[in-house]
Amino acid sequence: MSTPTATIRVEIDGVATEVAPGTTVLDAVRARGGEIATLCFDERQEPFGACRVCLIGVDGAPGPVAACTTPCRDGMKVDTRDPAALRVAAATVELVLSELPGPPAAHTELAIVARGFGLQHGALRWPGAQHEVEHDERHPYLTLHHELCISCGRCVRACDEVQGAFALTATGRGFEANIAAGLHQSFRESTCVSCGACADTCPTDAITEISLLAMVEPGER
């Protein structure tokens, strides 16, 4: 492989900057200390572009684009505070929250992102169907709370791309979308090697450590 030498010039929120070819907008923003909310992104995994929360405005683009999967191009002008992008992202998070039977635990990424958009589980514009509580606690360390799954795919990708156990599967569609160990088995019956990468990446504690359950204070501040 040849080492890329040329750099790409982009403008982020009016500030000109240079990045290496292949750098995504999200990487470029974060490398400069900027922040863009994400839900399905984990730096250990390939960008997925599924959650539509990291939306930004790009000069000349027909609409908001996902920062995590958009590569920087020479001359690109990025607006991380683009009103349309932020409005769509906030609505997306609001819809995600509306499917949960309760507010996410305060320390989770979902709760932090929701707070960033000023959203409260108890004051959503579109209350709708909520997931039924379904807990799997058959593993000595890992627990799966299906009702908290937002189908971001991070656990499945951690299992595939970081560990390589291929134990987790995305299941169902639409409102029924969820995850399963193996073919709707317990972790122990699947090919799970108990590495915990899924719990580590989960932004909602749908998969978490049993030892931490007792320490979680549900509710919002």
Binding site: E43, R44, A106, H107, I112, P140, Y141, E161, V162, Q163, G164, R188, V193, S194, C195, G196, A197, D200, E209, S211, L212, M215, V216, R221
Partner: protein, 697 residues
Amino acid sequence: MPPSERFDHDVTTTCGYCGVGCRLEAHAVDGRVVSIAPALDGPANRGHTCLKGRFAHGFSRKRERLRTPLIRAADGDLRAASWDEAIALIARELSRIRDTSGPDAIAGLASSRATNEDCYVMQRLMRAAIGTHNIDNCSRVCHSPTSWALRQSFGLSGATGSFDDIEHADAAILIGANPTEGHPVAGARIKQATLRGLQLVTIDPRRIELSDYGVLHLSPRPGSNAAVMLGLAHVVARDGLVDHPFLDARTEGYDAVEDLLADYAPADVQRISGIPAGDLERAAHIYAEAENASLLWGLGVTEHKYGSEVVRLICNLALMCGKVGRPGSALLPLRGQNNVQGSSDMGALPDTFTGYQSVADEDVAQRFEARWGVSMKRERGLKIPEMFDAAVAGELKAMYIFGEDVAQTDPNTTHVVAALDALEFLVVQDIFCNETTRYADVVLPASSFLEKRGTFTNAERRIQLVEAAIEPPGEARTDFDILLAVSAALGHEMPFASPSDAMDEIAALTPDWAGVSHERVGRRGLQWPVAADGTDSPILYGSRFELPGGRARFAALPYKPPGSEADDEFPLVLVTGRRLEHYNAGTMTRRTGNLELLPSDWLELHPDDAARLWVSDGDLVSVRSAHGRIELPARVTERIEPGHVFTAFHFPEVRTNLLIGSSADVNTSCPEYKVVAVDVRPVAEQASRMPAIAAAP
């Protein structure tokens, strides 16, 4: 609420399980570890860890943790004692034995689980406070052959590169290691690399998980590794794949190797190893024709009668192909324990001070004598197996064993127990009572990796910081504090207020560690050698080897048969190894939820052997060698070749090491754990109503 507000103490530390050296974020509440997560910036683990590092921390607050010193009472039982009483007894007994029988009647074992600083003060205690070089550590029984051979071939005793080389390599050969179980995070990195196109060849008597992801798997007969390595070299030479410019510029001794290779044509090697000639040829081409290729190996290479010679043959192959000293072309031994590299680096060896400086070297010895204010012998001390022999012979009278359960993990358990029994005085410093503490006169309650500060050195020679997440339980103390107190009671005060002070002395006495300090180690670690200005060495031998003339040395070593071979009485060959869920003697993992994930062990055997022996899956079997007999359930699997059986050694109730004899590596005394001729037969779980006809004698 940010994550840190859930916990009252957070530290970034280094895992105390295997030699991968994962950096961890440990979180504690009310003096207990409640959660451990991988550090995103860990160089070896890059935001990942395994079920041992992440979950198996509950042992640290188990009720049976040692919390006070124990002294053997007149009635033979261990009773609680004060620290003053225990240390006074140790000082009195060790002084008495030293005065009546000489300092060489005492021996110590440092722990490859403990920090560099702990191991440094332990070897200084033995050398300066007692006055003997009888100090060793458990790398003796795992990678001492690797350490020795790398020094002979290249000059330094460590991996030539880093785990990052796995991603930079186009091909790799993995020999005698099962990383997805023994080194899970390295295993995951290798597996991911294969999914991105790494051409992986696995060489192991068992078809390991990574074999399913590789391009080729070779199953040699246990003990035939030397023939396999010579065969690969034969094909490289025969097919014009030798890197002659590299050979001419940077190595010496190839001519003798070339002569030797004539005897190892693929057909010859097939006869010795059982590996099809065509597979051997293909493996050699995959390695030699790749632009960058690495060699990785584990205890399946070293724990043999000629393990150290096989490591030299592995080095030969890399030299022939010029594949050393650049990214992606590395030799990476997968070191077993968290600090097995460091405990040897720290001079917890009978023949070397820190940084492998010989005790026989006059200048070196005088430097240490001046610093410590003592005089020392110039002759090496006893290696671990020699210590047990000397104890049985009555020449060794006392041992100080720190963090190693020799009665479970060392070979030939019967002999080890006889040795411990024969000692006049035994001190064991550990975190739990174990098989070895049964023979102790004093037991000192020590600290786990979650309760101490210092550094570990991983399999990449990377020195990394260890921070305390919690305090030692009860009256238990850190190993560092205990060893300083014992040394002082013996009349040798060490001037260290903290482990960081000890590291400063290590740096002052060790050229390869000249620039190391806790401050410089920081979050990213340092890979030794570290120059005085703090520059470290991720890749060794980029331009010269650390040997006279800067040239690497070939070794012309033929294949020789293993110390144990199947015969009529013991027709199967037992290979021992590890399981994912447990770690070594299981002292820690058996006291966590990992025991629920894997509650017991089993013997793996091939369906052909199972059918011949009338054994079904799950049946209890007896496994008998010339040295002992154990019983465990059988698991019938095609992952193992006919004629071979496999089990681990994590469970004291199985006592696998009763089966292992005293056969050991010819250069380093590393035991031949990997080849034991055994007889396997079914055992009825309950007495049968009809008396069985006696088995043939």
